[in-house]
Symmetry: C2
Subunit: 572 residues, 2 copies
């Protein structure tokens, strides 16, 4: 889900001290060149996160300062606990939208949600419950991301056009936005569209700058460097430029833009998260959050690498500084990597920049036009609206389109139903081959029936039906050799089913025997006292000479002696 | 789960007219010798079902006549729709206990439950939902059966000893029965114990009669036949004998036994099931049944062969004659088979005998001592209390003890929790290897990593971790060949995970390539544009010569040309 290869939470796999304290990996070797690279990368990420934080707070339905409150704790915690140098934690578009769904613009609920999400994530990390996330497949994640990015992108159209009082629910929003498109404010719309164009052009320029190398003349290198810096810090520069324009209009006595307005000044207080909200007690706050208490911690871990503990601690500590729930940010992680970050220490400089902005710049945020922030969000979520996934799924595995569409469509109703539907649909797709294994039938001297995968209990009735159909329902009934070369294990239900079936075969005067048994399966069948005449066959004997195959190597060494011994063992 | 091999409900597999109307299979060939055999078997089963029906009605908490009301519809329906000649439908001990749990001794609720269960079972048959039952494994069924047979058996101790007012809940019942054991009535206890002894002796005799053949003298054959008949009809004979004894005491003016008492006379009315109960409306009756509406239809199908449609229709029609929910009976199916039934027409005679008993014998049921009926039940459920299953599970697959004990223990709390817990535990056992496939690592020229089973999406993170661990975390990083010989299919999540990982390998200057690809997997990887240098290897190249194996035949023919073509295809 991210560029780096994920690390299991320590404690869930073989581990070392380094795994538990990842800072020990890089701190002892930390050097001055590293510091320089981390400083540049950290500040660049900082210039991205500050404008994004202001914008995302609006998506979350919270006052602008909450975006910044949420942006620094992750940097510090991840510096200590992070395993990948690139990852940056902080507010993201998706998480902001989820927060708006489940906390209804109430900062107290949002901060309590942060604390509880952190506790749940930490518990998942400590109890090794990360494997639960394994059951959320890519099609589900893609469907969710697509639906949510569409929702977020569309929610900004109203800010881009300067429309007021548009409802929050997606379908109502779409309806109202189009119905009232005539009320569009010229100033906001112009600034918004120009902002998007500027961001797109800068992004395009960045991806087309040739690699700088020492062979180039100095002036060319400087020129490229300027373009690269401008393009990388484009969010911050755009916001500053738009703020200056708005300020100029304000000074001249007219204001064509809707502005961010008054933002609380200074650093957030450090205090316990609000365990009650005025007269509203804790339990009723928890009830208000509802399914959000499942969705937000889960999605917080999903959106990025499964470092449940680091994420959990970030959220728990964040709730003490009025943060709303945060997670790893794709966009800023990419900026971090491209700027050449050396260690997780880069986060320290990002965090410091956010704190400085909070301490000294909040009065200036007054003048930032909302249309520009809308443009920042739209450009941030646009890459997530990756429609190529349709084509890829179609080409790679068409059945995976089912969980994809189930998730995508239901996410517009309620996010949790979308995810749940996707998980259920992909679960059914997963269990179907377990319940209905592929079976090959070779019609030779005897009938040879070969399941092409393992047999587990849900397949018992099916394999019995198939054997009945091909052998016992035939007239006259035929003997069957069950080729078990693909069976690694076997459970009691299957054994019991086969045992019944073998008796049925005997009643009809034919036999059901087993060939190519791997050792564990053979032992189980022996333990279950499969003692019918000629229950077991020497490997390879079953099929005819013309397509006789060596069995798989994993069963090879241990099986042959066991099968050769079988008559003696059976005679005990 | 029964002696016969199950048949899928028609419509869910390849079918013929015969499958839809099973009576067409045997009716055209029906003959007089068949009629004779069916008559004998049908009457024998009838002599078993009448006393059992009276006894099971007590287990269900209903008046005795309801047992008989439930005993004839199944015989007639199964004659028309049944696929196995042996199976008999009717009241069973387990179903009676479940009915008592969920209908609280209210006949109206029980009859409505019959109707609704029938509808649910029929819907399951028509919608091909029978596969849901596949997810209830044998350990769960065994745990359930063991717990329920213990509950039923113990519930009869109070009748055997003549104790009154013992509570219904299992633990309270055990406590109260032992606490009040001093109140035991001598007459009932004596009769009860003697009845059990009689039944056991007769059963033992039956299993020790030598096979009758024409070489024997006539008197010996007649003697054996008498013993066999007595033993087979032991329930009826015992009940008649006990009834006569009780009647004699009654005539002499003293009654040492608790009797069945007044039973409603005559045939049940044919009428709509009660969709409301006096002032209680339909929805509130349904709410009263609660989880029973899931457990009873499901268990009704589980206890015997999955002929959802026949069972559904039996229950729906049964509800018109005041039947409580019925299912296939193990015990009477065995009697049917042993008596040599020829076709499902045997059921006609069983049903007729039940109807005759209802019409003419109900006044006589007054005298049947309850202790004797308790003995009938105890002897019927005793074979279900099969404790050998512990040892078998221990020997065959120790992990299967987990769902077994989860079900067994929780069934004493609430049956539905027991089954649910068993299904969840066996589901986890089923999914664990899917999420954590076994992986073999061969350390040769390159590292060869071979998953020993398929890869599905829950395994993605795990396989990435493992590859990272063995190859990329090593210094220097090593190239890996992923041996895909056990992969039949692959989904988008796995492909995306491997794609990310291949990029990570390339960044570290090593390669991740694939060998022994089966055709479908190869196509998917091509579709997903796996275009890294040397992504694919010719089969067998991966592992060293010393343990090189032919790949499995299923991948053999189609794979080699595809792999040979791969450079051209990739170059498109």
């Amino acid at each position: 889900m991210s560029a780096g290869v994920p690390q299991r939470p320590p404690g869930c796999s073989s581990q070392t001290l380094q795994k538990s304290f990842p800072i020990l990996r890089w701190l002892p070797h930390y050097s001055l060149p590293c510091l320089k690279l981390d400083l540049i990368a950290g500040l660049t990420v900082g210039l991205t996160v500050v404008p994004q934080a202001l914008a995302y707070a609006d998506v979350a339905g919270l006052p602008a300062q909450y975006g910044l409150y949420s942006s620094f704790m992750g940097c510090f915690v991840y510096c200590l606990m992070g395993t990948s140098k690139d990852v940056t934690l902080g507010p993201t578009a998706i998480m902001s939208l989820l927060v708006s769904f489940y906390t209804f613009g109430d900062p107290a609920l949002a901060v309590l949600m942060t604390f509880l999400s952190g506790c749940i994530q930490l518990a998942m990390g400590l109890l090794c419950l990360g494997f639960l996330l394994d059951f959320i497949s890519y099609p589900v994640i893609k469907g969710f991301t697509l639906a949510v990015s569409l929702t977020i992108g569309f929610s900004q159209i109203k800010n881009l056009l300067g429309l007021h009082n548009i409802p929050q629910q997606f379908f109502l929003q779409v309806y109202d936005t189009f119905r009232r498109i005539g009320e569009t404010r010229a100033g906001d719309a112009t600034l918004g569209v120009l902002s998007i164009v500027a961001l797109l052009v800068l992004k395009l320029m960045k991806s087309h700058i040739p690699k700088i190398h020492r062979g180039m003349p100095l002036w060319l290198r400087l020129c490229y460097l300027t373009v690269w810096l401008t393009a990388t810090a484009r969010n911050a520069l755009l916001v500053i430029a738009a703020g200056l324009i708005a300020y100029s209009f304000q000074v001249m006595g007219s204001q064509p833009f809707i502005l961010t307005g008054k933002t609380a000044e200074g650093l957030p207080p450090f205090r316990l998260p609000p365990f009650s909200n005025g007269t509203v007690p804790f339990m009723s706050m928890v009830q208000d959050m509802g399914a959000g208490l499942g969705v937000i911690p889960f999605m917080g871990l999903l959106e990025s690498i499964a470092i449940a503990k680091a994420f959990g601690i970030t959220n728990i500590l964040g709730s003490f500084v009025s943060s709303y729930p945060v997670t790893g940010s794709f966009g800023r992680t990419a900026v971090n990597a491209q700027t050449g970050v050396c260690t997780p220490a880069g986060g320290l400089f990002t965090g410091a920049l956010v704190l400085l902005s909070l301490a000294y710049l909040t009065p200036l945020f007054f003048y930032i036009p909302k249309a520009t922030l809308a443009a920042v969000i739209i450009c941030a979520v646009a890459p997530m609206f990756d429609t190529k996934v349709f084509r890829t799924l179609w080409k790679v595995k068409k059945l995976d389109l089912l969980p994809f569409f189930a998730t995508f469509l239901l996410c517009f109703w309620e996010v949790q139903y979308g995810i749940l539907a996707g998980v259920i649909v992909s679960g059914i797709l997963l269990l179907y081959p377990v319940a209905r294994p592929q079976i090959k039938v070779y019609d030779q001297e005897n009938l040879v029936v070969q399941p092409l995968s393992g047999l587990s209990f849900p397949a018992t009735e099916y394999i019995r039906d198939r054997l009945y159909e091909v052998a016992l329902a035939a007239s006259p009934p035929r003997s069957v050799v069950l080729d078990c070369s693909h069976l690694n294990t076997i459970d009691y239900t299957v054994v019991a089913g086969l045992n019944d079936l073998q008796q049925e075969f005997q009643r009809k005067g034919v036999s059901l025997s087993f060939s190519d048994l791997q050792d564990p399966v053979f032992r189980v069948l022996l333990a279950a006292k499969f003692t019918g005449p000629g229950s077991f066959r020497i490997q390879g004997e079953a099929r005819g000479k013309e397509d006789q195959q060596e069995a798989d190597s994993s069963s090879h060494s241990s099986l042959l002696p066991a099968v050769n011994n079988s008559p003696e063992i059976l005679a005990e």
